[in-house]
C-alpha cells in the first residue's frame, strides 16, 4: 500500500487530470464492449460468452483495412461494420437455435465459438502478435491540461464512446425502434403477436452488440497488440462491469465501466499490488449490497 502517493495525487491537479483521463480511457473502451454484452443479455436473455471475439475481430479488421487503405476512418468503419455483419450471421446461423435452451447449452455453444474464432484469426492473420501502429495524424505530442498529460488520440476515443452512449440511450428511450426493442425485451411473445418480426430484432440487436465490441477493438488497435485470444481478458472485465452496473442496463454499463477505469487508475497509485483485487472487491461489495447490480432491475 502506498497511500501517500494516492493522497499526493489527489491534491495535485496535474496528477488528478492525468489519472482521471487514464481512468476514462480504460473505462470507455470497457464500456463499448460491456454495453453490447448487456444489450444482448437485456433483449435476447443470452450471456454472450463469445463477445470478446468480436472485439478481437474488430481490431484485426481495422488493422487490415488500415494497411490496405492507409485511412484511419475506413479502418474504424470496417472494424465496426465487419463485426456487425459477423454478429448478424452468427446470431442467425447459431445463436438463434439455442435461445430456449439451457444456459449451459448456450455457454457451451459460445465457448466453442471462442475457440473457433481464435483459430480462424490464427489461420488468417497468423499466430504471432501484430500491431496496427498509430496513424500519422495522431502522432503528435500530448496535450498538457492543468499540468496533466492527455494524449489527443485518447480524447477522440473518449468522445466516440460518449457519443455512442448518448445515441444508444436516446435511441432506446425516444425512438420507435427503441420502443420495439424494449418491448421485445419485456415480452417477446406479445411483440411477435403484434406482427413485428422478432427474429429481425434479435438479429439486429446482436449485430449492434457485435458492432460496438468491434468498434472498441478497432479503437484499441493502434495502441494494443493484436493476438488470437486477445478478446478474453477484455471479456472478463466487461463481465465485471455488467455485473456491477446491472445486467441489461446501459446506464449501468457506463457507470460500471467508468468506476472500474477509475479504480484501476487511482488504485495503481495507492494499492499497486492490489489493483486487480480492488476491482473484484468492489464487485463483491456491490453484489452483497445490491444483488442486481447498481442499475439492474429485479427480474419478475
Amino acid at each position: 500500500m502506498d497511500l501517500d502517493a494516492l493522497a499526493g495525487c489527489l491534491t495535485s491537479p496535474a496528477c488528478l487530470v492525468t489519472q482521471t483521463t487514464s481512468g476514462l480511457i480504460i473505462g470507455m473502451l470497457l464500456f463499448l464492449v460491456a454495453v453490447g454484452l448487456t444489450l444482448i443479455f437485456g433483449v435476447l436473455k443470452v450471456v454472450n460468452f463469445s463477445h470478446g471475439a468480436f472485439y478481437m475481430f474488430g481490431a484485426y479488421f481495422a488493422m487490415t483495412a488500415y494497411q490496405l487503405t492507409d485511412s484511419f476512418a475506413l479502418a474504424m468503419l470496417s472494424g465496426a461494420l465487419g463485426t456487425a455483419i459477423l454478429g448478424l450471421v452468427f446470431e442467425r446461423a447459431f445463436m438463434s437455435r439455442v435461445y430456449g435452451a439451457d444456459v449451459l447449452m448456450q455457454l457451451l455453444v459460445c465457448y466453442a465459438f471462442v475457440l473457433i474464432f481464435d483459430d480462424v484469426v490464427r489461420m488468417i492473420w497468423g499466430p504471432e502478435f501484430r500491431s496496427m501502429g498509430m496513424p500519422a495524424a495522431f502522432q503528435v505530442p500530448p496535450l498538457f491540461i492543468a499540468g496533466g498529460v492527455v494524449p489527443p488520440y485518447y480524447l477522440l476515443l473518449i468522445g466516440v464512446a460518449l457519443a455512442v452512449a448518448l445515441v444508444l440511450g436516446l435511441g432506446l428511450a425516444r425512438t420507435r425502434i427503441g420502443k420495439v426493442i424494449r418491448a421485445a425485451a419485456h415480452n417477446p411473445g406479445m411483440v411477435s403477436a403484434l406482427g413485428i418480426n422478432t427474429g429481425l430484432i434479435y438479429g439486429g440487436v446482436f449485430a449492434l452488440g457485435g458492432m460496438l465490441a468491434g468498434l472498441a477493438g478497432a479503437l484499441a488497435a493502434p495502441v494494443r497488440s493484436l493476438t488470437p485470444g486477445m478478446g478474453f481478458s477484455v471479456l472478463i472485465e466487461s463481465f465485471i462491469v455488467t455485473v456491477i452496473g446491472g445486467m441489461g442496463s446501459i446506464l449501468g454499463a457506463l457507470i460500471g465501466a467508468l468506476l472500474i477505469g477509475l479504480i484501476r487508475s487511482f488504485g495503481s497509485l495507492g494499492f499497486p499490488l492490489f489493483t486487480e483485487g480492488l476491482m473484484y472487491l468492489f464487485m463483491v461489495i456491490v453484489l452483497v449490497s445490491r444483488p442486481t447490480g447498481l442499475f439492474g432491475k429485479e427480474v419478475a
Partner: protein
C-alpha cells in the same frame, strides 16, 4: 475414352522394389545401417501466445539438422526429428517427453520448453537417463542449483543471471555519465519478471550505488492495457525506467507509452526489445531505447552470424528469434560431441559434451563452451545497445565482458548457497 492410370504398384516401382530387395540380400548390413536413423524428440510450444517462439525453435533445428544430415548424420546415422506441441503446459511437456522416449524410440531430447515446462522435462530426463539438452529456458536455477544437476542434462541457452550482470553494468555506466539516479521499474508479474528485475536492480545498485528505485509497477502477464501503469510512472518522474516486458506486451506498452511521449522524458532500458519479433512489429519504434541483444544478425558483428541470419530468413521468410540461435547451437553441439565421442550413444555423447568448446556463429569470440561444472552454455555473444527505427535496429551493440560475468556469477552462486 482416355486411359487413366489404375491405382496399384506400377511396373517401374516394382522393378525398383525388386532391385532394392536384391541389394538388401546382397549386402544386408548396408541397408540396416542406412535404415537405422537416429530419432531426436523435441517438445516445444507450437500453439498459443508464444507459438511464434516455438515455431522459430523448430525452424532453426530443422535448418541445422539438414546440414548435419547432408554431411553424413550423427555417426553415420541420419537424424529424424520428432517434434510435438506441448501448448506451453508443463504437464503436457513432461508427458510428451516421456512418450517420445518410451513410445517413439527417441534416443535424445531437445527440450524446447519455456522455463515453466523445462523443469518438468528435466525430471523426465532424470528419471529415464536420456540425454537432454534444454534449448529455451533462461531460468538460472535450472543449472546453477546443484540439486538440479544430472550427468545427462545440459542447457544451451542464455541465462538470466548473465543478462542481469551485463545489463546492469551497461546501465550503470550510462547512469553515471548522464546522472540518472531516480529509477522506476515496470515488469510482468510472474517469476521471470520478478527475478530478472530483482537481479538487475541488485547489480545496478552495486555498480552505481547512487541509484534509487522510486517506483515499481507489476502489470499482469498479457495485460491488454498499460495506461494506468504509464501514467503512474509519469507521475513518479523517474530519470530512467527498466522493463523486462516482452513480445506483444512490450509492443503494446511502447505504443501506449509513446502517445504520452514517455520516451522523451526518461531513458528506457528494455532488455527484450532487440528481438526481431518485437522490432519488426512496432510501427513507430522510438529511437534510443536501450536493450540487450536477444538475437540480432549484426551482433556478434561477424560474417558467419550475418550469413546464418540471412540463410534462416531466406528459408522461412522471417528473421530468427532468440530461441532460434539457441536451438541451432544445440544441434551444432550434438554434432560435434558425436564426432568427438565417435558414437551416438547417449552416455558417451554426454561425456563428450561436458566442457566441450565448439566453433559457433553466436560465440563472443567465435566459439561457445558447454561449461563442465554446471553443464550450461557460456561464452555466447551478449551485449547491450540503443535502438533506431529501421534495420539494423541496434547498430552499435556493446559487448559484455565474460571475465566480469564469471566473477559476479560465482559470487551470486555463493550467495544463493549453490556452491
Amino acid at each position: 475414352m482416355t486411359r487413366t492410370r489404375r491405382p496399384g504398384v506400377s511396373r517401374r516401382a516394382t522393378l525398383a522394389l525388386m532391385g532394392a530387395g536384391a541389394a538388401t540380400f546382397a549386402a544386408p548390413w548396408v541397408a540396416r545401417a542406412q535404415a537405422k536413423t537416429i530419432k531426436i524428440g523435441m517438445p516445444t510450444i507450437l500453439s498459443g501466445r508464444v507459438a511464434q517462439l516455438g515455431t522459430s525453435s523448430r525452424n532453426a533445428v530443422m535448418l541445422e539438422v539438414e546440414k548435419v544430415n547432408a554431411s553424413g548424420g550423427l555417426a553415420g546415422r541420419q537424424i529424424e526429428m520428432v517434434i510435438r506441441d506441448s501448448k506451453g503446459q508443463p504437464q503436457e511437456a513432461a508427458r510428451i517427453a516421456r512418450e517420445l522416449v518410451n513410445t517413439d524410440g527417441c534416443e535424445m531430447l531437445l527440450d524446447g520448453e519455456a522455463s515453466s515446462g523445462s523443469f518438468a522435462v528435466h525430471e523426465v530426463a532424470r528419471d529415464l537417463g536420456v540425454l537432454c539438452i534444454h534449448t529455451c529456458s533462461e531460468a538460472s536455477s535450472l543449472t546453477a542449483d546443484p540439486k538440479q544437476h544430472i550427468p545427462n542434462a545440459f542447457r544451451c541457452v542464455r541465462q538470466g543471471i548473465h543478462d542481469s550482470i551485463v545489463g546492469a553494468s551497461y546501465a550503470a555506466k550510462i547512469a553515471k555519465t548522464k546522472g540518472l539516479k531516480k529509477w522506476a521499474t515496470c515488469s510482468p508479474d510472474y517469476a521471470y519478471g520478478r527475478d530478472t528485475t530483482g537481479e538487475f536492480t541488485l547489480y545496478l545498485k552495486k555498480f552505481a550505488p547512487d541509484v534509487e528505485i522510486i517506483s515499481e509497477s507489476w502489470p499482469k502477464l498479457f495485460q491488454p492495457d498499460y495506461t494506468e501503469v504509464v501514467t503512474k510512472i509519469l507521475q513518479a518522474k523517474p530519470q530512467a525506467l527498466y522493463s523486462c516486458l516482452w513480445g506483444g506486451d512490450l509492443t503494446s506498452y511502447i505504443d501506449q507509452a509513446n502517445i504520452y511521449a514517455m520516451f522523451a522524458q526518461m531513458e528506457v532500458f528494455a532488455v527484450n526489445m532487440a528481438d526481431y519479433t518485437a522490432l519488426t512489429v512496432v510501427k513507430n519504434l522510438p529511437k534510443g531505447i536501450h536493450s540487450g541483444d536477444r538475437y540480432i544478425k549484426t551482433f556478434p558483428p561477424t560474417p558467419e552470424n550475418a550469413a546464418w541470419g540471412d540463410a534462416y530468413k531466406a528459408k522461412y521468410n522471417e528473421y530468427p528469434t532468440n530461441w532460434s540461435w539457441q536451438n541451432a547451437t544445440a544441434v551444432m553441439f550434438l554434432s560435434e560431441a558425436v564426432k568427438k565421442a565417435n558414437s551416438a550413444d547417449g552416455k558417451k555423447v554426454a561425456e563428450a559434451l561436458t566442457g566441450l568448446t565448439i566453433k559457433c556463429p553466436f560465440g563472443a569470440d567465435g566459439t561457445v563452451t558447454m561449461r563442465a561444472d554446471d553443464h550450461t552454455l557460456v561464452g555466447y555473444a551478449i551485449g547491450w545497445g540503443t535502438t533506431i527505427s529501421q534495420e539494423p535496429y541496434v547498430p552499435d551493440v556493446q559487448a559484455g565482458d565474460w571475465k566480469t560475468i564469471f566473477e559476479l556469477e560465482a559470487e551470486w552462486k555463493k550467495s544463493k548457497g549453490y556452491t
